[in-house]
Amino acid sequence: MKHKKAEAELRQIALKVREHIIRMSTDGGCFTGASLSCTDLLVFLYCNFLNINENNLNDPERDYLFLSKGHDVPALYGTLAEIGILNKERLNNHLKTNDFIYWHPNTKMPGIEFHSGSLGHLLSVSMGVAYDCKLKNQKNKIVVILGDGELNEGSVWEGILVCSALKLDNIIAVIDRNQFQANCKTEELIPLESLEKKFEAFKWNVSSCNGHDFNYLDETFSSVPFLSGRPSAVIADTIRGKGLPSIEARADRWFCNFTHEEVDLLLKELYTQEKTALKSETLIVR
């Protein structure tokens, strides 16, 4: 049984991860909004749910996490750095040619199970891993993080359909439901609701929870798989840009490339929660 960290400690770790994300949001920038929405999720999963640590990265009986919405990788790198899988110093190499820390995940980085970036791929890849774990009677948990915007991709629904047909109850799909896709609100562009009913109709077991509340996350994940023989989906209600009130839930703050002065102000904002006046370019398309 994994030794669980207390809520206060998780909060401290999540603040540190958010600091890493803010520091990566300059000199070229990164997908800040999408990274901040799944930060608490990733911190919870690595600290209190998944059997993944610096010593078992090649153990076939470890748990797996696949980041299908790959553009939020700063949150994953930040988390891996805080739990000791990734050397924190390497985060200073963000976007530099001397390292492999670019806008999407890749297996040159420790703790990254598979590359992603093209949306709609890693549900099926994680199903292959899950299938093999079952063939070998291993009890690994396979978590795949999907974006809500990513659910526009047909291949995701193909995977959802096939996953329940194959009865892969070791799969847990976590939807980072931050209500935005790139520059639009999901419900204004391609409405997803009722998302729970959609998963249920595809014979998945579904639970929704607040994706920023560690107690709710603990309660939800403590009962997965929700039902034997069926894959599980957790719809985590989140806020794009969570932690920085000046960019929270804004359609124009998906990719951010702040000035160095703004980074300093935002690092303060993270702790004071008082809005910073931002002047850097918005609506950046990558």
């Binding site: 093209s118 891993v129 899950a130 063939l135 194959l166």
Partner: protein, 310 residues
């Protein structure tokens, strides 16, 4: 031994192999019950099948996936390129009904750009056997290779005894010739041999090479052939772009060789859907039509076109 027996034998010997299909079971009617959980039918979902195969390969399996060539290489292209190609995973992609083998299905089912697409992906190799026997001779090495592989699956019966020494990147010399060398891959080998027989009846000496491995190609053999032949023919049920003609052209340019090449391929249009023999006649890919095209080209060589001066 047919393909299904070959798979059964392989799976019995090596735990790593897993069979996947996108509801394309023609080549494995009796397999599911015999291999149980190592047979996965994902339904008509080629993208998901390739993604699952990549995941299985991450866990050390060697997945052999089956679908119609068009849907495998085109519907699931980005999954092959992004998951299998970038990952350099040993996924084996068996494409059925490629080229003329789609017969009367029509252009939706005609994989005549599959080789071009697959060989354009780094790490992905391509094997185009002429018939089932040729395929089964090659598959042990193709499947054991650490590379991802695209295989033009065929169940055609062989018309000759093949050389059983298959090597990745090596062709099979069927016959030598002094007037012309026909390079061919896949099901058109039979027509190439027929063309060569017709040409020899009229006093021409035509050799035939079964390419087998298209990527890597048998570069040394192709260089020798180009240096020593008056005429080289590339024969394929594929578009002119990206297939054997392109492979040969790249080798010729790279090695600064000058050589006369006659391509026989589909030029910029899909073929007339019909039963196989009717397709071959209609599209002039039968042995007699090929021999006529070669004879015309040989006559051009013997009687050079007059040089005009202004």
């Amino acid at each position: 031994m047919n393909y299904e027996e070959f798979l059964l034998d392989l799976l019995g010997k090596d735990e790593r192999y897993v069979i996947l299909t996108a509801e394309n079971r023609a080549a494995m009617r009796n397999l599911p019950g015999k291999i149980k959980d190592r047979f996965i039918d994902v339904g008509i979902a080629e993208q998901t099948m390739v993604g699952i195969a990549a995941g299985l390969a991450l866990r050390g399996r060697i997945p052999i996936v089956h679908a119609l060539s068009t849907f495998l290489t085109m519907r699931a292209f980005e999954f092959i390129r992004t998951d299998v190609g970038i990952g350099n995973l040993p996924v084996k992609l068996m494409g059925a009904f490629s080229g003329f083998l789609s017969e009367a299905n029509g252009p939706t089912h005609q994989a005549v750009e599959d080789i071009s697409l697959m060989r354009g992906i780094p790490n992905v190799n391509v094997f185009s056997p002429s018939d089932e026997e040729d395929m089964i001779i090659g598959l042990p090495k193709v499947f054991a290779s650490p590379n991802p592989y695209y295989i033009r699956y065929t169940n055609l019966k062989s018309i000759l005894k093949h050389n059983e020494n298959f090597e990745i990147g090596k062709s099979e010399i069927i016959s030598d010739g002094t007037d012309v060398l026909i390079l061919v891959h896949g099901m058109l080998l039979k027509e190439a041999i027929e063309a060569s027989r017709i040409l020899s009846d009229s006093g021409r000496s035509a050799g035939v090479v079964n390419m087998r491995s298209l990527k890597p190609a048998d570069e040394n053999t192709l260089i020798n052939i180009c240096k020593n032949s008056n005429l080289v023919v590339t024969l394929e049920d594929h578009f002119l772009t990206g297939g054997l003609y392109s492979i040969l052209s790249e080798i010729i340019v790279k090695n600064r060789i000058s050589c006369r090449v006659l391509p026989v391929a589909l030029e910029n249009t899909w073929f007339k859907p019909a039963l196989l023999n009717d397709v071959l006649h209609y599209e002039k890919f039968d042995g007699r039509s090929i021999a006529e095209k070669i004879n015309l080209e040989l006559k051009k060589i013997q009687r050079p076109e007059p040089q005009y001066s202004i």
